[in-house]
């Protein structure tokens, strides 16, 4: 029995009639302990996909199963790290994590729960910031709190929804390494959603491209057969890296790319010739108009 299984899942938004299909016929199997990255265009429905795994959204068709049980509602067995951190701004870093721990482990003693919070804050290197409010932290630190909160619930599966999307490149790189480091400590099942192919190759066991929407669907699974630990510097020249990268990009830009559409549109060329300055200026400027009228032409453009 697969650990996480999505079976011909479809999801759309909007009312009957004006309905737009976001995801269509999604099939995904993730084994226990696997790190899977789903790479796709922005706006393709990546967040919708992970929301369905989290149980925040219900699929229109098909089934989402965790260990054979259908997912009907969100729960702490699926820790999710949201794109925009989603920390509660009136709680300190410690309290944000403690809220999750207290909720998931009510049977533990107060000391145990405090130790749990401290353990995971230490894991993301945020022990010194425990007493701070989220607004006093940088984006990268906030995202680490969010990761600590998700991990402290000891979920069966960790869902990362473009966790590093809002960060600058340098912070991104540091946090990518940190996510891998944390993952290697207990090898929990992870589904990472990202729009960065390199991020996927660096962290994941498998990469699955998501084609462009509307009606996005998952492409073939591409195994990342690069031994761990992966070194960022050496990676760039590794043949395996190049191969995986090419396979993912080929799918995203090729078959799974945006469907080519052509539109025909009217183009108006601007007046290129200047006013005739030899003519005297009259009250309405009638004589000094440009000597050539705007030209109009029709053109067919292929949309990328």
């Amino acid at each position: 029995m697969p650990f996480l299984e999505l079976n011909s899942v479809s999801k759309g938004y909007g009312a009957e009639g004006a309905r737009s299909e976001v995801l269509k016929d999604i099939n995904l199997i993730v084994e226990e302990g696997e790190f899977v990255a789903i790479v796709g265009y922005s706006g393709a429905g990546k967040t919708t996909l992970i929301s369905m795994i989290a149980g925040l959204l219900q699929p229109d068709a098909g089934s989402v199963k965790l260990r054979g049980e259908a997912i009907t509602c969100p729960g702490p067995d699926r820790g999710i790290v949201f794109q925009n951190y989603s920390l509660l701004p009136w709680l300190t870093v410690f309290e944000n994590v403690a809220l999750a721990v207290d909720q998931v482990f009510p049977q533990w003693s107060a000391t145990q729960r405090r130790e749990q919070v401290e353990k995971y804050l230490a894991m993301v290197n945020l022990t010194p910031a425990a007493g701070k409010l989220p607004r006093e932290l940088s984006g990268g630190m906030r995202q680490r709190v969010s990761v600590a909160r998700a991990l402290a619930m000891e979920p069966k599966i960790l869902l990362l929804d473009e966790p590093l999307g809002a960060l600058d490149a340098l912070t991104r790189a540091t946090l990518q390494d940190e996510i891998v480091r944390i993952w290697e400590q207990d090898r929990r099942t992870v589904v990472l959603i990202t729009n960065d192919v390199d991020e996927g190759i660096l962290t994941a066991d498998r990469i699955i491209p998501l084609s462009a929407g509307p009606s996005a669907t998952l492409g073939p699974s591409i195994a990342v057969d690069i031994p761990r630990p992966r070194n960022r510097k050496e990676l760039n020249s590794a043949p395996a890296f190049k191969r995986v990268r090419k396979a993912v990009l080929d799918y995203l830009l090729g078959t799974g790319g945006r469907q080519k559409t052509t539109v025909s549109r009217k183009l108006t060329l601007p007046d290129l010739l200047p006013e005739n300055l030899d003519e005297p200026r009259t009250l309405f400027g009638a004589k000094r108009v440009p000597r050539r009228r705007s030209e109009e032409k029709f053109e067919s453009v292929e949309l990328a």
Binding site: P74, F82, S86, P89, W90, A100, V104, R135
Partner: protein
């Protein structure tokens, strides 16, 4: 202007100029007392005092000060039920306002929460709220008297401690000042980011915990803006309520002094109401800013 800026005079001087201009305007339209010596029809000299000016009955600043002095000098004196020091009146008014205001918050906040949480409830209640909101305190008071006509609490000596007019007074203050608290709470609840609610869902927080750990803290800044506006209205309503009931208080005193023809003290009352209102607003905005999150 450089000179002003260097010594930070403009922040002191300009308000002073404003106040001065206001006083001059007041003095210009206030009535003046003139003593005229004329001969009566028998040819005897008599002195007559005549009030002249744009508004002959309006007391001048100096007269106002003179008439107000005893009330300011002994702010807590109690010479009679409707003859007390100005601060004694203020405290009486404030205590009534606070009671009405607390009733307003106790009803308004949950109502706002329900409105924010349920679209069905909003649709059902919206017409009623929109119609009731602009109704003046003067209109509510008689209805309060009718509603609570049977309310009567009598103490041991047979004196009414809390009668229909007291209940009506509280009702009027509560019903008039409730709306900003209701509306702002509702808006605040609707504005709670979905992310916070998703967190609550993922953690499987119970309804009560979601309310107290997520919804309430996220709504607090909006709620306190509403509370501040509500307090302002509650203080506005007090004058109307005290005039209608004749209760001792700033508004009651104002109305009594008008009936007694001592117009100077009306101005004293107006200034007191204004200053107290300003202080209340400032206090509430201090509280409000403490609850600003993120």
């Amino acid at each position: 202007m450089n000179f002003f800026k260097r010594y930070k005079l403009d922040s002191v001087l300009l308000p002073l100029i404003g106040v001065g201009a206001f006083l001059i305007l007041w003095l210009a339209i206030a009535g003046r007392v003139e003593t005229r010596k004329t001969l009566d029809e028998f040819g005897d000299p008599v002195t007559k005092t005549v009030k002249t000016g744009l508004s002959p009955d309006l007391p001048s600043p100096a007269e106002t000060w003179k008439a107000s002095k005893p009330y300011l000098a002994e702010p807590f004196a109690k010479r009679g039920e409707l003859d007390q020091g100005i601060l004694a009146f203020t405290i009486l008014s404030l205590s009534l306002v606070m009671q009405g205001y607390l009733i307003a918050l106790a009803i308004g906040t949950p109502l706002g929460f329900f409105l924010g949480l349920s679209k069905t409830f909003t649709k059902a209640m919206d017409p009623i709220i929109q119609v009731l909101r602009p109704v003046s305190p003067l209109a509510w008071f008689p209805l309060g008297l009718v509603l609570f006509s049977s309310v009567k609490f009598i103490d041991g000596g047979g004196k009414t401690v809390f009668g229909a007019s007291d209940a009506a007074a509280l009702f009027t203050i509560a019903v008039c000042s409730m709306w900003p608290a209701v509306m702002n709470t509702a808006v605040g609840v609707r504005a709670v980011p979905t992310d916070y609610l998703n967190v609550a869902k993922v953690l499987k927080l119970s309804r009560g915990k979601t309310l107290f750990k997520v919804l309430l803290p996220a709504t607090l800044p909006y709620m306190f803006t509403g509370f501040r506006l509500s307090l302002g209205i509650a203080w506005l309503v007090i004058v109307a309520v005290e005039m209608l009931t004749g209760r001792p208080g700033v508004g009651g005193f104002l109305w009594q002094e008008y009936n007694a023809g001592s117009y100077s003290r009306i101005i004293l009352c107006i200034l007191t109401i204004g200053i107290v209102g300003l202080v209340l607003d400032r206090l509430m905005s201090v509280v409000e800013s403490r609850f600003k999150t993120a």
